[in-house]
């Protein structure tokens, strides 16, 4: 794992356990390491139960992590008191998944956008009004939308308001938790284009969380694939998608249908996982995929594999693959 000095967000050994009573605990996040540089988009990919949303919430302390370190611009944030933490929210913000649930139904768009300016930046009224107007324009809405309530807006418009709210304080990092998953396909493209434009204009770093591989391929510079609380593969998007190494990544890519004719035949044969995802409660010290993996050997149940660098920023957490990288067939073409 390369140590990136210029990383604007650095996460080390992040863990989150939920106690279940009777001494058992549910391990949602199990030792996650991330680096994001300014202006970069890192995608966190996984299915349900992977822990990706929990990672996002732990980073901003909406959920308190059990252990680990999170540093923004080198400054650690996990031990800060509430007042200092509040100031951190000027540098890192979040866009939520469900546009219906992420806006207070009783607040107009104007009030939603005004709030962070008032609370975080403590701007005087005139300045706030001007900034609110420029914010709506930046997300391609108009001043007419300012006095509307969320239920008077479409899903795509609500999500734009959520984005405007996140960039209102001019943060450096924005975490996007499945920002397009609740939107119709035709709206999705517009929102993604908007996000990419804003990233360029404002030099934002994005932590982009998604289960949709197509979207990830479209927007992300680097990808980290998560399974059962840990990262199993990471690297530049084209590398991971073009030549996936970890069996889970290959299973994921081979299962995702592509809306194009004739691709199915040309695609690598499906790599199938046996059975269902194992329980996150009191997991054994073994590879998370053990019991489901077609490449499994006896060594897989003896200790959890760590991420091994394969070169070029591409790392994989699988002892079998790491031992013989050359022979792995390429995945999704």
């Amino acid at each position: 794992m390369s140590y990136d000095d210029s990383a604007v967000l650095r996460v080390r050994e992040l863990r989150k356990h939920f106690p279940m009573g009777g001494g058992r605990s549910l391990v949602a996040v199990d030792g996650v390491n991330l680096d994001i540089a300014a202006g970069e988009t890192l995608a966190l990919v996984g299915e349900s139960g992977s822990g990706k949303s929990t990672v996002a919430r732990c980073i901003v302390r909406l959920i308190e992590p059990t252990s680990g370190d999170v540093a923004i611009d080198g400054a650690p944030i996990l031990s800060l008191d509430p007042a200092a933490l509040s100031r951190v929210y000027r540098r890192i913000q979040m866009v939520f998944q469900d546009p219906n649930a992420s806006l207070n139904p009783r607040m107009t768009v104007r009030q939603v956008l005004d709030e962070p300016l008032r609370l975080h930046l403590k701007m005087p009224r005139q300045a706030r009004e001007a900034r609110v107007r420029s914010l709506v324009e930046m997300v391609n809405l108009t001043a007419a939308h300012l006095d509307r309530y969320p239920h008077e807006l479409s899903g795509g418009q609500r999500q734009r308001v959520g984005i405007a709210r996140a960039i209102a304080v001019s943060p450096e990092i924005v975490i996007l938790d499945e920002p397009t998953s609740s939107l119709d396909v035709s709206v999705r493209g517009q929102i993604l284009t908007l996000l990419m434009d804003l990233r360029r204009q404002l030099n934002l770093a994005y932590l982009f969380i998604s289960h949709d591989l197509q979207v990830v391929r479209h927007v992300a510079d680097r990808v980290a694939v998560m399974y059962l609380g840990g990262i199993v593969e990471t690297g530049p998007t084209s590398e991971v998608f073009g030549s996936p190494k970890h069996p889970y990544t290959r299973a994921l890519l081979s299962a995702a249908p592509v809306p194009q004719w004739g691709v199915a035949g040309a695609r690598a044969a499906r790599l199938r996982l046996v059975g269902e995802i194992s329980s996150p409660i009191d997991p054994p010290d073994a590879c998370r995929l053990a019991g489901r993996c077609p490449l499994q050997q006896t060594s897989c149940t003896q200790g959890k594999p760590q991420l091994t660098d394969l070169g070029g920023g591409h790392a994989v957490a699988c002892r079998i693959v790491a031992a013989a990288p050359v022979t792995s067939p390429s995945g999704h073409g």
Binding site: R57, V60, L62, P82, S86, Y89, Q93, M94, F96, Q97, D98, A101, S102, L103, N104, P105, R106, E115, P116, R118, L119, H120, Y149, H151, G162, R165, A166
Partner: protein, 263 residues
Amino acid sequence: MRIGIALVCIYTGIAVLSFFWTPYDPLSPGVGDGYDPPSSTFLLGTDRLGSDMVSRLMAGARYDLGITVIAVSIALSAGTTIGVIAGYFGGVLDTVVLRLVEVFQAFPGLLFAMLVVQAVGPGIVNVILVLSFVGIPDYLRLARAEIHARRDWQYAEAARMVGNRPWRVAFRHLLPNSAGPLLAFTSINAAFVALITASLGFLGLGLSPNTPEWGSMIARGQDGVMTGQWWVSFFPGLAILGLTGAFYLLGDALSDLTDPRRR
């Protein structure tokens, strides 16, 4: 719904008016001869002591309506505040509060009110305080449940990210969105409290004997019902019925009004 609002306004108007004018002095006996039937002099008759019914009814509005409104307001404010805090912050505080509430709720409302009023002694202030206490647990539970349900919603998370301290998220963001159920409950609770007020009066607890409170007026007119002087108990009873009905109808209207989707 409009009927509810209209009725409550009428009652309030009468209560306020009674401070300034009533046909006769509500507290004076002997204005009439005693058990005068309804006539042009005494529109609704007089009671056993000869006091004018209309005047006593008007003055009674002050007590029944006033006690109810004040007691409900106190219960609403106190109960909701504690409930919001318990619901949002959870933990030990929440558990302790819930257990206390359960103890309170183990007693049926009216019985509890009766016992405490007897214990603390008569007086309108005591009556109001006792009635507030009886109401707090219900508001507390409702507010707590509403806040608890919304606590993990994304707009609550967003409110934290935007710079709100936790208590502000709870009171400024979550509570207003729970206004609908709370207000609807308030009205029904008000109806209930009005009934308990009248019941306490009927049983002769809490207020001094000559107070023109509707419940005690009904009690005073009980003998008359058997001998044909029906108006002494009937009109106060009607007044109570009207008030509780008005509160029920008001509940509907309030919960609709507070829904932003209706605008």
